[in-house]
Symmetry: C2
Subunit: 119 residues, 2 copies
Amino acid sequence: MQKIRLADAFEKVEGYWSPRLAARVNGTDVRLARLKGEFVWHAHAEEDELFLVVEGTLLLRFRDREVTLGPGEMLLVPRGVEHCPVAPQECRVLLIEPATTVNTGAVREARTQRDVPPL
Amino acid sequence: MQKIRLADAFEKVEGYWSPRLAARVNGTDVRLARLKGEFVWHAHAEEDELFLVVEGTLLLRFRDREVTLGPGEMLLVPRGVEHCPVAPQECRVLLIEPATTVNTGAVREARTQRDVPPL
């Protein structure tokens, strides 16, 4: 049992769109990711995904609208809902999602990451 | 899909040691709680429980040591591990734990809360 200071932990996250595992709560992951630029449109068929912004600004685009999240704001994206995260500047997020969640959902592209290495 | 601003959401949490449900990610709850004073020693037989401090200071007492968490710090308490949370001043925490988790574990006392009402 080691406490995690988010500010320190984000310094260990290398690259963008490449989450690291901070903790697993039963079958649910708490992941940390640094985001910058535009990701890919995708959905997670079986998994809900919660975004909590720790630093910066995150735009979550949906097919019919867009939600902007700042530090201390969070949004639950229900399973099956297509979304495209966009971070105009670097943004640091804490993700809560089932351990089975692949970052790009059913889409396969260069940033697809099947394994989520621990911090 | 409504975004949640933590600072606003905590204003809706009435009383201490009485978590409210902010979001459910598949079977896992994200709960918000205001803590003050000393809680009860307990363990969750089947559930891991993650404490993320948003505001204030939280002491997590274990039988063999104590961990102090400040804002932006988190700790995973694995299932079966006895703990006693203590907040000398009001502390605001985000909890990540299975939806089955009862706040006092197997202990039953005045602050036991079986249902976790939504925000």
